[in-house]
């Protein structure tokens, strides 16, 4: 690494990786703030999350442009090329995660003054899990850590179970109390946004495998060793 021949390429890659970390931090913060805006019914904070989503989008384009420039000027090959291609796809996933966080805050704005249907129990758990998965997947990408990526991807099952539990509970409430449909739907939207984040993390984990091995593997298809679910 860092040999004179590749100085420009290494510099460019390093800058891109730093921006990627910055993007991860922004989304992590957006997720925690969107939950807080929901818990506290804080519309000012919800507006903030929605506003800041624009910076996340801009950072995505900045990273994509930097990747393009590196490809055009440095002609990366092999693992360098795979890393750059992976990052271009990962920033698209990250950007969508930002949209999901903003989606939760938009729901908060729509709820207006209506009180929460029920105390929040599983949604904060989903946010916690989403943030853990987000941080872990990007770390695995930067470390080229395939076992870590597989482990992170396997946690998508937990996310799915949490979502299923919330879904069942809310549907049951709606059936019992039709007048609650509105308020139940708000919570369902929030949970749905979080469930989607799990899928995006799985995409990122697949890219980690690709960077290290050159193989495109679908980690959603359960493989040996993943969560013991064969």
């Amino acid at each position: 690494m860092g040999s004179g021949l590749r100085a420009a390429l290494d510099r460019g890659l390093l800058q891109i990786e730093e921006d990627l970390l910055r993007m991860r931090e922004m989304i992590d913060r957006a997720l925690s703030k969107s939950l807080k805006s929901l818990v506290d019914r804080d519309t000012a904070l919800a507006h903030e999350v929605i506003d800041e989503d624009k910076s996340i989008n801009n950072l995505r384009y900045k990273i994509e442009e930097a990747c393009l420039a590196l490809i055009a000027t440095q002609q990366p090959t092999a693992s360098d090329l795979r890393m750059i291609m992976a990052i271009m796809s990962v920033v698209a996933d990250l950007e969508r995660m930002g949209d999901y966080a903003a989606g939760i805050s938009k729901t908060v704005l729509r709820m207006g003054d209506e009180p929460l249907l029920k105390p929040l129990i599983d949604i904060p758990k989903m946010v916690d899990l989403a943030r853990t998965m987000l941080r872990g997947s990007i770390q695995a990408l930067l470390d080229h850590d395939v076992p870590r990526a597989r482990e992170i991807a396997s946690r998508d099952d937990e996310m799915d179970h949490l979502y299923q539990a919330i879904f069942d509970e809310l549907v049951e409430i709606m059936a019992r109390k039709p007048e609650s449909v509105h308020r139940a739907t708000y919570l369902l939207w929030c949970a749905h946004n979080l469930e989607r984040i799990g899928d995006r993390v799985t995409n990122i984990a697949e890219r980690v495998v690709f960077v290290s091995t050159g193989d495109f593997k679908d980690l959603n298809i359960k493989e040996e060793g993943i969560g013991g679910l064969n």
Binding site: M1, S3, L5, R6, L9, Q75, P76, T77, A78, S79, D80, L81, R82, T213, G214, D215, F216
Partner: protein
């Protein structure tokens, strides 16, 4: 995992366990490689690793160097080119070569291309004229020179001279064209013209090119082989070599970590 479709392969040259010695120095070590018909095979690797030596084995150009020894087999369409009684003139007509520096003869453009056919006793004046025109058209030089065929070849630009040398090879109807860094003396536009030409020629010819320009190998070739200290480290489909090399030395070489 192999995703790219394998090009339909038909063997043109089979090299088996080739060793090559310059006196006591072993320059090639156990090279085995299959070169497919109507494909472009690129050979890359650091300076002095034996690429040119290998290329020259394919039409026995090394035979002229005193003290060399060749072991192993090179089969052209199944025939061992190192067998006793092999017709070397015919071999070099079938397996032509273009060199690093354009090397036209100090003759007219016309005579450069007509030289080979005349030596081989091909046809009358009219037939030779036709052959010259066809060869110059094949290298996309005809339109530029058709009104000045008697001009001295050295009046052409370097890129044009290189295409003339290629026309000279084509005029004797080769089957295989060996190219040893054919673009290293050329500017980028002249280089791209040769590359476009190669894509055209590979429909009818088998091409083996040695190049120091990895991007050129990536752009033009179907398969790429990496030579290293006289050995063939890895040989595979070009997209695989440049996106998912199997060998660490290939990875290091194509990413510029070594070399």
């Amino acid at each position: 995992m192999q995703r790219m479709k394998e090009t339909k392969a038909e063997l043109k040259i089979k090299v088996k366990d080739l060793n090559f010695y310059y006196g006591p120095i072993k320059a090639l070590n156990e090279i085995s490689i299959d070169i497919q018909t109507c494909e472009i095979t690129a050979l890359i690797g650091p300076s002095g690793c034996g690429k040119s030596t290998f290329l020259r084995c394919l039409n026995r150009m090394n035979d002229t160097i005193p003290g060399v020894l060749v072991e192993g087999e090179i089969l052209l369409d199944g025939e061992d080119i190192y067998r006793n009684g092999m017709d070397l003139a015919l071999l070099r007509q079938r397996v032509g070569m273009v060199f690093q520096k354009p090397n036209p003869f100090p003759k007219s453009i016309f005579d450069n291309v007509a030289y080979g056919p005349r030596i081989l006793g091909a046809g009358n004046k009219h037939e030779i004229e036709e052959l010259v025109e066809e060869s110059l058209k094949n290298v996309a030089l005809w339109d530029e020179v058709k009104d000045s065929l008697n001009k001295d070849a050295f009046e052409l630009s370097l890129g044009e001279q290189q295409r003339l040398c290629l026309a000279r090879v084509l005029a004797v109807y080769p089957e295989v064209i060996l190219m040893d860094e054919p673009c290293s003396a050329l500017d980028p536009i002249a280089t791209l013209k040769i590359e476009v030409l190669m894509q055209d020629l590979k429909k009818n010819y088998t091409i083996v090119i040695v190049t120091h320009n990895m991007q050129q190998a990536a752009r033009v070739s179907d398969r790429t082989g990496l030579f290293w200290l006289g050995e063939l480290v890895e040989f595979g489909q070009t997209d695989q070599i440049f996106t998912r090399p199997r060998e660490e030395r290939t990875e290091d070489y194509v990413t510029g970590r070594l070399g």
